[in-house]
């Protein structure tokens, strides 16, 4: 007996590739631009969103039959806000430096369109287990893009990964810097995040022609 049925597996795997919230639905772009200059905050952001979405979808799904539809947005907001505050407080308690670095962007998870989108589109109409899988899948799809973008931006922009100087020391001129290499300052600026996301979208669509929209 498989742990997940075929449909359930699709709930997790689709958002990772052909129904990715960032590259296909183009949601959640703002945070993808803001915090991906380095790898570590990207990963922390990905995990935070994973938590908020997994738990949030479950909570909304549990309450789906008792939420009056007129005030469902308010209820959803309260659920997200509660979860985001938990994440924020945990980060402040255990990873203060990182929480300072991410500053308002943890709080802004509330406004992440992916989360509200999944609450509305999925958790309100599906069972607990499936809603959980859907939340995890979409958050993972979001996180994967964040981590890819963060990887390239930190490597090419600062020459480091997780803060370790993998390409050599730019001041002492060791490693790659000895032969004249220099960090690409453009990579650290937000526009370049948009361009990197754009390149990912381009690569993905040229590999899978079915994703290209008709116009």
């Amino acid at each position: 007996m498989a742990l997940l049925s075929k449909k359930e597996r699709g709930l997790i795997l689709d958002p990772l590739a052909d129904n990715n919230p960032i590259t296909i639905q183009v949601l959640g772009i703002c945070s993808a631009l803001a915090i991906t200059a380095q790898l570590k905050p990207s990963i922390v952001m990905a995990i935070s969103v994973l938590f908020v979405m997994g738990v949030g979808n479950v909570v909304i799904s549990l309450m789906r039959n008792i939420i009056p539809s007129k005030i469902r947005i308010i209820v959803q907001l309260i659920v997200v806000a509660t979860l985001v505050i938990i994440v924020d407080q945990v980060l402040k308690a255990f990873a203060y430096e990182l929480s300072k670095e991410l500053s308002v962007f943890i709080g802004l998870i509330i406004t992440n369109c992916i989360i509200m989108g999944r609450f509305e589109a999925f958790a309100l109409g599906n069972g607990v287990w499936r809603s959980f899988l859907d939340g995890i899948g979409n958050a993972a799809g979001y996180g994967v893009i964040l981590i890819i973008v963060g990887f390239f931006r930190e490597l090419l922009g600062s020459g480091t990964l997780f803060g370790f100087a993998v390409l050599g020391d730019p001041v002492e001129k060791t490693g790659l810097y000895a032969i004249g290499y220099e960090n690409n300052g453009f990579m650290v600026l937000p526009p370049m995040a948009l361009i990197v996301v754009g390149i990912i979208i381009w690569v993905q669509r040229s590999r899978n022609k079915a994703l290209i929209e008709e116009n």
């Binding site: 220099e182 690409n184 453009f186 754009g198």
Partner: protein
């Protein structure tokens, strides 16, 4: 069998294969195709895309050659400042030219090599003909970068500019942004230390700085541009005639205002560059310069202000310092990215000039704002056209109503 015939048979041989566009491009780049259209219904014109591009390149060649002399001249004059006392005699020398070839030709080769390679790759992948669009871009790029820019940076920037600035939009004729300026903008934001400051404009200054830091007992070479001096409220050492002839440090090809004006006349005479855009850009720059002069003479800003140096420049001098003239003649007039309507061209050009001087004065971090202003207006050009056309439609509809009523 001549070269032309050989290329033709080569092209025939590879017809229908994957590499066909590459061979076809080589053939038609050098010669007229063997088979031309026959029959009566075709429009025959002399200025196809290739010829248009070639005329722009011809208009750029004087700037390039002057840039080579200037690269050498700035290098030697920085070592021996007495050369500057008689620039005319010391400028057109073989020493300068050889030094210029040594420093400028690699820029040209890298620009064309990388750019055309990418064009060929895309043509082969997409299976269309190689487009000529890169011919002009490849010539412009070496002219708008500092002479000492490392070649690998130029290569990376060209690859970025051609792919992101042009190919993703669908190639020549479809791009929103001017590819040459996209390349410059990339360089500027990615490697700002190599695109500004007082060292990169003169060949050898960066090397010399390293030697001094390493402890060598030699004089530093300074090659501050005029805008750089003004932005720091320093005395400018070059005379107005130096600026006009172009015996000043700057990007490779933009220093000689005289040759740019010559180029402008070539473009206007052959109807390839729009005189409306060139003229209105200059007007826009002059108006902004006048406004700043007015602010200074009204006494709203004192000498202690960090903007005073640039605001106090007589308004007409803005045209001969920096690269506004080069931008207006060769960059703003790019037919793909500029406005298409005549009224739109006036608005587009005026705003380029206006914003260029605004950035130049108010942003000391970017001593020259021309490329940013042109890129900005490239983005707005379709919007301008849209409103001009809508305006026309409305006016005519009104006229129609009056007539029929």
């Amino acid at each position: 069998m001549g070269l032309k015939q050989k290329l033709h048979t080569l092209k025939e041989k590879y017809k229908g294969t994957k590499m066909a566009p590459a061979f076809n491009a080589l053939h038609t780049f050098l010669y007229l195709p063997n088979e031309t259209t026959h029959g009566g219904t075709h429009i025959k014109v002399a200025d196809d895309l290739k010829r248009t591009m070639n005329i722009v390149i011809m208009a750029l060649v004087p700037c390039l050659i002057f840039g080579m002399f200037n690269a050498g001249y700035q290098h030697y004059a920085a070592l021996d400042s007495t050369l500057r006392n008689a620039p005319l005699e010391n400028f057109f020398t073989w020493d300068n030219f050889i030094m210029g070839c040594w420093t400028v030709l690699p820029l040209v080769i890298v620009s064309y090599g990388v750019g055309l390679l990418i064009e060929f790759i895309f043509a082969v992948i997409k299976g269309h003909e190689v487009e000529e669009g890169y011919l002009v871009t490849g010539m412009l790029v070496p002219l708008i970068v500092p002479v000492d820019i490392p070649l690998w940076m130029l290569a990376v920037a060209v690859a970025f500019g051609v792919v992101i600035g042009k190919e993703v939009f669908g190639g020549t004729g479809m791009n929103i942004l001017n590819p040459a300026l996209t390349i410059r903008a990339f360089l500027f934001f990615a490697y700002p230390t190599w695109m500004s400051g007082d060292k990169v404009w003169v060949h050898g200054a960066v090397e010399r700085q390293k030697e001094i830091l390493a402890g060598a007992n030699v004089d530093a070479i300074s090659g501050e541009t005029i805008l750089g001096s003004y932005a720091q409220n320093q005395e400018v050492v070059y005379s107005l005639w130096d600026m006009f002839w172009g015996f000043i440090p700057g990007s490779v090809g933009e220093t000689s205002k005289l040759l740019i004006i010559v180029g402008a006349f070539i473009l206007i005479f052959t109807k390839i560059g729009s005189w409306r855009i060139i003229f209105s850009t200059l007007v826009g720059a002059l108006v902004m310069g006048l406004i700043f002069n007015g602010v200074v003479s009204a006494g709203w800003i004192g000498e202690s202000s960090k903007f005073f140096g640039l605001m106090n420049v007589p308004f007409w001098q803005h045209l001969i310092i920096g690269s506004i003239l080069f931008g207006a003649v060769y960059m703003a007039t790019d037919p793909v990215t500029a406005s298409q309507t005549n009224k739109g061209k006036w608005i587009y050009g005026f705003l380029i000039g206006f914003i260029s001087i605004l950035i130049r004065v108010f942003n000391p971090a970017y001593p020259e704002g021309v490329f940013l202003a042109i890129l900005l207006m490239n983005v707005f050009a379709p919007t301008i056209d849209h409103y001009v056309i809508q305006g026309n439609i409305k006016r005519r509809a009104k006229r129609l109503k009056v007539k029929t009523a």
